[in-house]
Amino acid sequence: MLKIKNLHASIDGKEILKGINLEINPGEVHAIMGPNGSGKSTLSSVIAGKEEFEMTSGEIIFQNEDLTELDPEERAHRGIFLSFQYPVEIPGVSVTNFMKASINAHRKSQGLEDMPANEMLKLIREKSELLEIDRKFLSRSLNQGFSGGEKKRNEIFQMAMLNPKLAILDETDSGLDIDALKVVANGVNKLRSSDNAVLLITHYQRLLDYIVPDVVHVMVDGRIVKSGPKELAYELEEKGYDWLKPEQV
């Protein structure tokens, strides 16, 4: 589904990703762990198409298509979803209206008419129940005045609404208490299927107790220095990252 080959990317001339190789197949959950500043969030932004980053070499192939020249919205239309570490606030635009704009933009890209209002309402109701989101919440301005946990829950609600092929969850667990984490993880798990995939970016092994990965990658200084089964996460929790510094690999 996703094949990243020798990906190098930089911002303002500073190289952040120094040759990433990653392959994710349908139905799989991959986790990327690593210390602060290792380039985890950059990788997720680059996959989603953030223009501030310059891809200097390598390629990102998604469902046999090279993403390099595609705009962020085109990548979204192809089924890539990024749950943001810091979702932005959009005053005056309700969660519901934002989802309408998003869903109808997806449909338009497929040559479909706007989703009928009753269908939209039904979908919103169904997915907000899944994420245990209060109805009143949906009429609030997007992310404005939301707590950290509400923002993250809202990101996963959006994911549920859009039903992406590949969901990249960037630090979705940060700022969540244990109950909220369970709700969010439950939401993600319910959306898993044999033809979609999830890429988790996290600092902590905690999230991986609830969303169990097939593969864990360790990223240090812009490279994936080790990959292994889910047990690798426990090892990292215990030993930290120091033993994996690139020069020692």
């Binding site: 989603a48 919205e73 990548r75 979204a76 943001f84 959009i90 005053p91 005056g92 933009a105 338009k108």
Partner: protein, 438 residues
Amino acid sequence: MELKEKLISSFLAFEEACDVDSDIHNLRCDAIKEFEKIGFPSKKEEAWKYTSLNSVLSHDYSVFPKKENAIEYKDIKKYLIHDIDTYNLIFIDGIFSSHLSQTTHEKIDVCLMSAAMVKPKYRAIVDQYFNKIVSKENGFTPLNTAFAKEGAFIHIPKNLVVNKPVQIVNFATGNEAALMIQPRNLIVVGENAQIQIIERHQSLTDNPVLTNSVTEVFVGKSAMVDYYKIQNDRSSASLIDNTFIEQKDNSNCSMHTFSFGGKLTRNNLNFYQRGEHIDSTLKGITIIEDKQHVDHNTLVHHISPNCESHQDYKGIFADKSTGVFNGKVLVEKEAQKINAFQANNNILLDDQATINSKPQLEIFADDVKCSHGCTIGQLDADSLFYLRSRGIPLKEAKALLMYAFASNVLESVKIPEIKKRITHQIALKLEVSLGFDL
């Protein structure tokens, strides 16, 4: 002949056609002398530093339009708030159109300035209020006074809550090659009375139009006035709007100015707080492009203690458009414990767009809360990426962010039909369909 000379030499002919025995006659004569002395403002004056009138004053305007221009309701319907019941004062090329208007004399007076000026019945009101709070800082107001004849006269007696908004709309038809019109409005709202007013200037032609409008509003004790100015004119039309508002104790007055069009628009908006516990709100959204120019020149004069004022102006400037915000808050020594808030936020969409923002606070009292803030920026790159990552294309994403930027000004709009139209207008301006109604 220069416009100034033309106006001065036209004055005699104008006066002859009017009633020369009234007090108004003397006011007009004084005013034309005043105008002759100070003339039109130039960029040398601080308050006009960023607004050049050269291109506006260069046309050979007709200052007396021909009488009666027939316009059908269907031609102007779209410029009116027509989905709710309203009183309408419609002027065509500066002349009142009785068949398009809906006036009243039942309990309240919503009628013509020209009638109010000559009928004995209104004499006391006109004597008491007409031309009392205008400023002579620039020549436009005296010029308007000299030619003051037609406009809206609204008088709401005390304790009356008017349940229909009043629309004052000036149309220009293009019967003249270039037309100058000078509406003069007087609005007197009695103690504890309430009214909503919508004002619009609309040209139906590409011929140049210059409107020099003066409006005086008196807000009695505990009265409420909710006023909306819709400025979405053609790029051949310019507007100098001079509005003076005096408020008494416990009154509440809000002014929303929506500036989406016109060649050059200058809003001289002045609030005078004469009484305690007064609330004044000044809000505006400006979205312009090409070479359009919108200048907000506001004054809030805090004369009395324990009052509040809130100013919030948002501007979005594309292409080579230019904006000015010159917001003065003047707090007199007696005006203790006032709370004056002012914000002016701007987004420049293109390298050649310009905004000159200048807050001016003059505070002579020592126990007050005054805050002001001004920002000039571009659309936030992270926000754009967020929206695009949700599949919303760049253009729509930009539009959504611009709407979000302007949205808090709309929150205080109390007439839903206006809110709906303005949001629709914003979507039109931004040329997008968002998959939902803004």
